[in-house]
Every structure is written in structure tokens, then in C-alpha cells.
Assembly symmetry: none
Homo-oligomer: 204 residues x 2
DNA sequence: GGGAAAAGTTTCCTAAAAGAACATTCAAGG
DNA sequence: CCTTGAATGTTCTTTTAGGAAACTTTTCCC
């Protein structure tokens, strides 16, 4: 149901593998369920038809931008999510290497929360993996805060990222976040087992 | 042009004073002009019709979400802008936080590269996941090279990282490397299945 | 279980978006 | 001026979204 290509442009819709085909509907349904709303309640709140919402959730239609906008407000969805697509993964063991100048790459011992590179002074980004114990915060009672930007990727487990300015964000394996690390933040593992997270931090 | 209310819901569309009515079109036109594209070029790049784009820019239509998504990619528009009511476009506000949670990531036109964040302009690091097809190089025939640093983490699969100055490096799930991306580099998947790699790139 | 009520899905129809073709405007040269 | 070609705007047609209502499924009491 997508051959939306134009004769005029002659372009295939390659540039458009997006939330639509698969995940958009699920995303919205999840958000609705999470708020404990029925189709009717949600539809009413967003001022759209019940059937329309149903079709959207089942990916049976390509909603208009306007409709999506209303749903976003109603379900309090974060915008970027909608434009983004899925990836998932699982990992096993790990070794790390650091390639720097010219010469050899060296192996760093990686235990549990460990740096993923050596020769820090020559690098601007700081990659490391953290293991977050079940139901335990990474850093206690206060926000972690350091001028710069940070990218986080959940390798395994489930966790919640708390931030100073936003609602808590539930994440699981394969999810990622990019945020301003000057904003207070912290994690709690919500899975039974511990969660593994890859961080790449960039100081200003 | 707004009586979009439903008999069923009986709700007025109050909850929706958004970019549509006035600014959406302007926003898009501005973005296009800024990139120095003509209607035709932009439309082609976004795989939509020229006339459609014209109508959108003149607010003569309520584009579908899909269409907006493509335009966003093409024009590299910031997502939130589109949803923010602000009739006035002072987007200056802070923008920390790009979620790509719940397993959704934006896919870029770069075939199997999936960007893990949006609003690129506001970020210094560029995180993305690449799927490397079995026995296929990521980038063909020549080294990839771009001033800056790069961190790579193997999510799944086996691969070999070839670099200009070093011996090929075999890596598998969980391994990571940090290197100067100014040095030519490229990957080949050595596993039967495709390999998934997480990259975080930092330009100088 | 059986029957109601609620939740969700599908159908049908109307209104509107998307694309192609046609029309217009605009900028340069002659 | 008056072309000429590029860029944008408008008209026309086809396709599809969106809503109401009919229909199906699920839930949950009795």
C-alpha cells in the first residue's frame, strides 16, 4: 500500500522508510494504552473519529499531519520519536580496541563499567559502558550534570532515564537518547537483571 | 478553512492551533529557499509532486504526515518546530533532548544507516546504526574519510574494519574501536548474517 | 455458559490530498 | 517592448483519508 511514487519525478519512495509502514501505529497504540485511554476517549480528546484512530493504529491509513499533531498533544508523545525508526539488538561478550596514532591498536580490559578507549587526552569523545544494577540508580540522590552532550544506547535490560526537564523515559534494549548533559539526569534499572548501557559523552 | 470537527465527538478543533493555518507553509518555503532549491528540485528530492509542494507552501492543503516527513528529511527541518504553536518562529529555546526511544529511529537516505537522533544541527555528535550486509563493504571501493573522530561499537555480527594505516581488525558483537576518521576506513561483514554497528561520529 | 455492555474493526461515503497537465508570472536578453 | 525559458501557481482527475454507522470481538457480570 505504498507505491506512492510519481510519474513526474520518477522517483521511488526510497527516501521514506519510516514509522508508517510498521511502527507508527504501534507507537500510537502504545502511547494510548499507557495513558489508559480507550479508542473512543483518545479519539474524542484529539477531536478525531474513533474509526480513524483505529485505522491509524492498525496502519491502515496514512494519517494527515494535522491528525498526527493532535494525537501528539493528546497522548503527549515526544515529537522526534515519530520521525524515527526502530532498531534492536542483543550483544554478548565484548572486547575493545583503541586505534590511535599510527601503530598498534591496544586492547583495554573491560570489566563492567569501563572505558572503551585509552589515551583519553587525545580523544574528544568519551565512550564507556555502564552496568546498572537492578533497581539501583547510577548516581544517587542528585542529578548528574556536566556541561556537554551525551548519547546513550541501551545494550540490554530495561531502564528509566530521569531528567530534570522532561518526563521519565522508559527505555529498553536498542533504544537510544541524545541529550544535553548539562541537564540533570540519572538512570534506574527496571528490569530484573541489570541493564547495560553504552554512553558516549562529549564535553564542551 | 478549519471546521474540521466531528459530529461524533462534538469537539471543536480548539486543541489545534498549529503551524498549519499560517506558518507551516512559510516554514517549509523558507527552509527550501535556504537550501537554494527550486520547487522542482525539492519535490524531486522528497519524492513528491511539484504541485503538491507548491500547495503546501501556500497553505492550500493539509499535507499528510508522510509528506511532511519526507520534506523534513530533505530540507533537514527540525521536528519540534513543526509542532510548536508559536506563530512566531523564535525557536531559539533550548533543545536538549532528542528521544529515539521505544525502539524507533529515523532512517536517513543513506541507505542502511539509521540516524539515532534528530535535530542534527543542534548536536555535535552524530550517532547512527549501520547494517552491513554480509560480505559487503559499507562504502564502496574507496576509503571513507572525514575529518574528525569516530567511535564504533559492534552490536551484532562479525566484521573486519580496514583502515589506511593499520592491519585489518576483526571485530564481533560487543567490540568497539575509537579512531581518527580522517584516516581512511571501511568495513566488511564476515558473518553469514548482516552485522549491526553503532557509530558515533564527531566532526572537527 | 449466556447475555450485555464496552472496545475495537470494517464498510461505506464524502471531502480532500496528491499528481499531471495546463496556465501564469518573472527575469534576462534581444 | 517582446521573446524565451525557468520557476511558480492553478485546474482537473484520481486516489485516499476521515467520519458515522454497521458489525465483530472482547470483557465482565450474573
Amino acid at each position: 500500500m505504498e507505491p506512492i511514487q510519481s510519474e513526474e519525478t520518477g522517483l521511488a519512495p526510497e527516501a521514506s522508510e519510516a514509522p508508517d509502514g510498521e511502527v507508527l501505529g504501534k507507537m500510537i497504540r502504545d502511547a494510548r494504552k499507557e495513558k489508559g485511554l480507550t479508542l473512543e476517549e483518545a479519539a474524542k480528546a484529539a477531536a478525531i473519529g474513533r474509526s480513524t484512530l483505529s485505522k491509524i493504529e492498525n496502519n491502515q491509513t496514512r494519517p494527515s499531519f494535522e491528525i498526527i499533531r493532535r494525537l501528539m498533544q493528546t497522548l503527549e508523545l515526544e515529537t522526534p520519536q515519530l520521525f524515527v525508526q526502530s532498531a534492536q539488538s542483543s550483544i554478548s561478550g565484548r572486547r575493545d580496541y583503541t586505534l590511535s596514532g599510527r601503530g598498534e591498536h591496544q586492547k583495554t580490559k573491560t570489566y563492567d563499567h569501563e572505558l572503551l578507549c585509552t589515551e583519553l587526552t587525545s580523544k574528544r569523545m568519551l565512550p564507556y559502558i555502564s552496568t546498572i544494577k537492578a533497581r539501583d540508580v547510577t548516581e544517587y540522590d542528585s542529578w548528574v550534570r556536566h556541561r556537554g552532550e551525551e548519547f546513550m544506547y541501551v545494550i540490554s535490560g530495561d531502564l528509566v532515564l530521569y531528567t530534570e526537564h522532561y518526563r521519565p523515559l522508559s527505555m529498553s534494549a536498542g533504544d537510544s537518547v541524545y541529550y544535553d548533559s548539562g541537564m540533570g539526569h540519572g538512570c534506574v534499572s527496571t528490569s530484573e537483571e541489570e541493564a547495560k548501557v553504552l554512553w558516549v559523552s562529549l564535553e564542551i
